[in-house]
Symmetry: C2
Subunit: 455 residues, 2 copies
Amino acid sequence: MSKSNKKIILSEQDMPKQWYNIQADLPEPLEPPYNAREKRPATPDDFKPIFCDEIIKQEMSSERFIDIPEPVREVYKLWRPSPLIRAVNLEKFLDTPAKIYFKNEGVSPSGSHKSNSAIAQAFYNKEAGVKKIATETGAGQWGSALSMACEMFGIECVVYMVKVSYEQKPYRRSLMQVYGAQVFSSPSNRTETGKKVLAEDPDNEGSLGIAISEAIEDVVTSKNAKYSLGSVLNHVAMHQTIIGLEAKKQFEIAGDYPDIVVACLGGGSNFSGAAFPFLMDKLQGKKPYLRAIAAEPSACPKLSKGVLAYDFGDSSGFTPALKMYTLGHTFMPGGIHAGGLRYHGASPLVSALVKHKVVESAVVKQRAVFEAAVAFAKTEGILPAPESAHAIKVVIDEALKAKEEGKAKTILFNLSGHGHFDLSAYDNYLSGKMTDYEYPEEKVAQALTHLPEIK
Amino acid sequence: MSKSNKKIILSEQDMPKQWYNIQADLPEPLEPPYNAREKRPATPDDFKPIFCDEIIKQEMSSERFIDIPEPVREVYKLWRPSPLIRAVNLEKFLDTPAKIYFKNEGVSPSGSHKSNSAIAQAFYNKEAGVKKIATETGAGQWGSALSMACEMFGIECVVYMVKVSYEQKPYRRSLMQVYGAQVFSSPSNRTETGKKVLAEDPDNEGSLGIAISEAIEDVVTSKNAKYSLGSVLNHVAMHQTIIGLEAKKQFEIAGDYPDIVVACLGGGSNFSGAAFPFLMDKLQGKKPYLRAIAAEPSACPKLSKGVLAYDFGDSSGFTPALKMYTLGHTFMPGGIHAGGLRYHGASPLVSALVKHKVVESAVVKQRAVFEAAVAFAKTEGILPAPESAHAIKVVIDEALKAKEEGKAKTILFNLSGHGHFDLSAYDNYLSGKMTDYEYPEEKVAQALTHLPEIK
């Protein structure tokens, strides 16, 4: 075993003081959101009922760097800066000349990277006088991050949790409740949307689409309440860039720089956070050969197999339409264990970068993902979340390619979360019962016939 | 919120290179273990069938400092040095002049402090040519730490897991299996002990005592196999002192020193690890006023309510007898959620220090413990393990006392693990269903009639 430094640690003083907004460096400006109901481009006013002004401003901003408010930095210090770790044991196991580094976002109190944006959003809402934030959650990573963030800033938090997860994953629900959040099984009888669904089908198991609709309805019918989203949107991606900005400083200390950055992609916030600060160098012409790879599950590969089109963010079509790679907002992906990757669309920012061939994607299958996860746990000790394990599978593939080519490539990936909440998935894998998912070509083709009409 | 440093981080270079062995500084030497079967003091030879030579040497050693082998330090670097964190938000919530610091051992890959000794034990066994290590585990913290450690050093790991936990806590079992361990529900039909128990009662739910017996039987009937214990013994306590040794360096950086050190006590390894390096200063006369408090559950308060006597380490009476505070080896504590504190005896080292009034103990009740845990999670973000929350309750009591007295005391506690595996316990608390446990006076009196006879 090497006696060199295993971890590269930044001091709190060296924690970045600004987020990076990649909108400043895009090859062309983003196409604006579209109000499909009124058949016109969406304006900031369309977002006012659900987001506070500062969030809307950040969503539309093209300023390159935006200050991280001091109170947000103070909460970040509960666990940030997160370590950059050299995966020496994994390298040896693979017998690769590649150097593999990872950021460990699993050290956050909620166990994943989601806290980076949750805390920022809770702060801005608090500043704007908002008393309550409502959101939806599937498996619960976002819900638990937001619950903790709201508690830190003294804001009421209401979470609509997809019924099937509410019942099957009580651990995450309890975590939200410890942080003081009210958690409701969705569909609930607290909203017209929920009541309507339950009237038609009392046994409806819920979906993210229904939960989003319930959260938004809760917000627009409450006083001093706003909605909060944990991925996809530009401001969320920006808040996550603290990951990559820290990593850049840590690579400076290591005297290294990645040739390849890998992160899994669900809505895109994790990928954006890890990759955008490095992609700044590529977009500015300083690192033309840098590769950034978004790891996608075969069950839901929007960047690799979807179309670039305006589509709704939710399955019911309540939100403004966004220009993004999508499998269609009515598409329901197979039940892979990486719940955070079961989203039909990809962040408009990442989508634009894929379109311009700045970002690549790679599709991986569930069993190979868990094989990679177990290899990682056995060599590096840390049990990865199933989402993060998608990145690990791609990293292993790239490291083995580097071995074939005899090239000492430097690879960075983001370990977006730990897997201590996901051991039933590991059990499923170890017992040999895990199934793979083929790309559901027909279901996607069907869903793509439901894209909104854009004038 | 304060803008000062939240965390005090040591570099890997500053990680201690030696463990501290408090046997060098005891007011009088420990009384030796006793072979109750043969009615004589135990010798190193009594331990040879189950422990390798280096472990036995450490168990008996009175050298003050013992080198941490380089390969152990390398594995420690996966997460060590662990942060020392100032709980500023908790201080504000309590409105106390006390300064509260905690070491966060929850950042280890297994989620608790147990890895500190597991890795050392796996290394020494590997060096001794041991091919297999067997152990027992209740809730699974020790089992998962040892599984990971064995995987790191390429040793086979066999874990006998108490049946009721095996069935009710499949998450920890799966974690051990990810690390490549073989996990058996105990009583099993792999040993004579297990077969006998099952023949008498096929529905027997198991106990730590039975699991210890099975692990030891497995070891003595296998080739090149040794047994491993996660607490109680001197060498285990010593391996854990890396916690307090790091904390001392971190307090130097902070320009501070604790007036009070608090840690929960099950078998004693966590308490020893946090407190012994500070108690060295007290025993050497440098810090006469330092207080060290072991937090005990009302269901199992051996230091506060037990007797100091020779007793067996397991409920079946297979092990040598140790001089320790005990509630009797046949005592079965109530089903508190802090499974790691449900042990009838306390480490002989801690017991000796209590006898000499160097260490205090405090008894806390389960509901108050969870109230403290939730307050901590809400203010500091981190969800504590139920075991660690016992320390938090005592810390809060001491901080409120400091407030009453108007004294700016400095308090350190060890957060021995995170609570992400324990959310069903939190759910039990939040739903109002949690019960308290009174001290079981009659059951203890009964168990104390079964202490071994010592000549």
